[in-house]
Symmetry: C2
Subunit: 441 residues, 2 copies
């Protein structure tokens, strides 16, 4: 059988693009309107998407007030409450939520994802993030942000504790014999009793093993420790390489690390995030994006660039290239490396870079359903990706264009499913169900 | 207008009564079956209940394995994920979830409840608990449990931080002017910058002010600091006095503390938890309870008594009264006081006490719809309560008996609403919407 694409949606309620709330026809109130989110995910499910994934931050983004006041990102649903609610109005599509290993507790995280997996019938996925926003630390009692390397060390142990807690009960532990009165077999309950560098967690978890064994493990990280963590733990990666060559290198890099970590590279799907802008012609699609970018005020643009750099860029000369010697910070290293690469590749001025970052800076596929399907097919065949994490430029139209125009084209080519093959997210992604480490089959 | 009752449901998926999963017709799989929970809450909504409230624990309950294996409490949905999912399949009924002030972070708690309030259109309530289960501490990196007094001090500050975060945005802060590009008015955003004994939280919250201003504040505590915390902060109390006299005293005690805390006693509704067992005759109702209690194994019974006492009771003589000198622990003081009171009031042996605690130890209203409606009316008129927190002895039948037999009787007497008066939980409870402390109207 020839290879097929996996497609997930990566969203904010109004769009990841900061100008999107001003686009003609946009739902500017989507941050408060559960009905809009329900309509989005139900359309994606009808289009047979693998999963729906809501972006997250643990603070109002740190930008100057002149930019902040123009940003629809200041308010959003908390992803866990949102995804649980969406689980109740869908049947098949996967549900990916973010939980921070720096600012949350393994017991809480293990329990919530197990619960979402039971509620949804096996559709939960955990996006492991270490939280690069320095302002988040100040919302959790820390005056300084936790250092990058230590965040990843903690993330690795956090993962071990969470998966260990998910394995508290054997799959067949719960007997429920009303006659004898035995609810579960205590021989099939494991007390984790984890004592590590970062965490001391006794367990067991007070919820049965998730439907999927473990919810699907998701990661984004492109930094060195991020790639290593992905190779060791992730089953779905939505890293955002900027072009085919970078994507192929990243794909080979992450999958190449897996055997040394004792893993089969087929057990990780890499779905690069790509903003998809569709027109009846390539020129029309480009014009849509240009109009969208024009809706981003320069004050917001320069603030976004500052976040990406981890450094205030408002003092830079807008019409010169980026200065060379920007001081290091604890912010995301992969984010900064991407800015520097983009600036050099496209020879952009500070203003041009800022406009790109103020809108959406990542990979964009811009064209007709046919040209975009061609690109996706190339990426799949050249081992640059196993599919895509779709970013919609504006909502609802940008999503409708994908589900109504691009997906049918992919289906005609045999590149995408016409119906779900199974009922769990693992089944959609072709991932096996993890064995219980304490109760092997 | 004469006084009317408020009714909420306090539940575990299978019932709070530990023998309930074995009762004829019980849904023994309700801990895993979202469909059952959906049917329960939709029935309660059709009966016009004020709110649905899911019990919670942050550990597998600490009982000997011989008892544990008989307990349906070892697994349950996490309440937040469950209530969010239930929000999507209901329109009017309130949704109360527990969050621990000892083992969670104010920023997370403020954000999740605000999100649930937005998703549900103003139906969220926060049950503030300090978590008395010593095993919970060991799931969160602590080897010793946090001392009782310190837990309440932390709870009080936690409340101040959470409500301060909910007030981050003025109600009219979000402008969303697509033409000018201004999303919100930064003059109407408050940075909390809390620095206290227990917490340092900068803010602002990254979600707009909840629909209800603040989700409704709920508490159970009957200990001295619990009552004081309720008088200072709570809007709904589900304390479980064992009889009318105790209830009147508690009602007067908590409401009597409110003026000194600068609050109007009408702004707190006290709804004692009561297990309701309905029969066609009083004798039939009593027989149902006797059969239910008989389904609790003695090993579970003695373990439950040990939890209530905070002390292992398995060595006590089953046929003697409770020994006098049981050592003090950090477990819930109000729980232990209740055991001692019940033992003395009803002159119960250890075995009898254990059987009561192994099933459901709290207040029970047992009789016909008419006798129970009489009791409820008496409690309301004698200022022992503003309604009841209904505990169902077994499910689904125990719930159906309440919604199909008791509620119509209460409605005939004009004691309970025939339709919702408003759309938010505050409106159901007759509670005013709190002013924003930073942006007074």
């Amino acid at each position: 059988m020839s290879k097929t694409l996996h497609l997930t949606a990566f969203m904010r309620p109004v769009s990841l693009h900061t100008g999107a709330w001003r686009y003609p026809g946009a739902y500017a109130d989507a941050n408060f309107n559960f009905g809009h989110l329900k309509s989005f995910i139900q359309k994606l499910e009808r289009a047979k998407f693998d999963a729906f994934f809501m972006a997250d931050h643990l603070a109002v983004l740190n930008m100057p007030v002149e930019a902040l006041k123009r940003s629809h990102t200041v308010t959003s649903f908390e992803p866990f409450t949102l995804l649980s609610a969406l689980a109740a109005v869908t049947d098949k599509i996967g549900l990916a939520a973010t939980a921070s290993t720096t600012f949350d507790e393994p017991y809480h995280v293990a329990r919530r994802f197990a619960s979402l997996d039971h509620i949804s019938g096996g559709r939960a996925a955990w996006n492991i993030v270490t939280t690069s926003n320095p302002d988040a630390a100040r919302n959790f009692g820390l005056s300084e942000h936790v250092e990058h390397g230590e965040r990843y060390q903690r993330a690795r142990e956090f993962f071990d504790v969470v998966t260990g807690l998910w394995d508290s009960f054997a799959d067949d532990a719960i007997i429920r014999d009303q006659e004898s009165g035995i609810f579960f077999d205590p021989e099939k309950l494991h007390v984790l009793d984890h004592k590590g560098e970062e965490f001391s967690v006794r367990g067991p978890l007070n919820i049965a093993r998730p439907v999927q064994g473990w919810p699907v493990i998701v990661q984004a990280g492109q930094s060195e420790p991020g790639k290593q963590l992905a190779a060791e733990t992730a089953e779905l990666v939505f890293a955002a390489p900027r072009d085919l060559a970078t994507a192929k290198a990243l794909y080979a890099d992450i999958k190449g690390r897996m055997p040394a970590a004792g893993r089969n590279p087929a057990h990780l799907k890499i779905l690069p995030a790509a903003m998809i802008v569709i027109g009846d012609s390539v020129d029309e699609a480009k014009a849509k994006r240009a109009h969208l970018d024009s809706l981003v005020h320069y004050d917001s643009a320069i603030a976004s660039l500052s976040i990406a750099l981890g450094h205030d860029a408002s003092g830079f000369d807008p019409d010169a290239p980026l200065p060379d010697n920007i001081p290091d910070t604890n912010a995301s290293k992969s984010g900064r490396a991407q800015v520097l690469r983009l600036a050099e590749q496209e020879k952009l001025t500070v203003r041009q870079l800022a406009q790109r970052y103020g809108g959406y800076a990542g990979l964009a596929l811009i064209g007709t359903p046919k040209t975009i399907a061609d690109e996706m097919e190339t990426w799949l065949n050249e081992e640059a990706s196993d599919g895509f994490t779709c970013v919609f430029p504006f909502l609802p139209q940008g999503l409708d264009d994908v589900t109504e125009k691009l997906v049918p084209e992919l289906q005609r080519r045999g590149l995408f499913r016409k119906d779900y093959e199974g009922s769990t997210l693992r089944e959609h992604l072709g991932l096996s169900r993890p064995a219980n480490r304490f109760f092997p089959a």
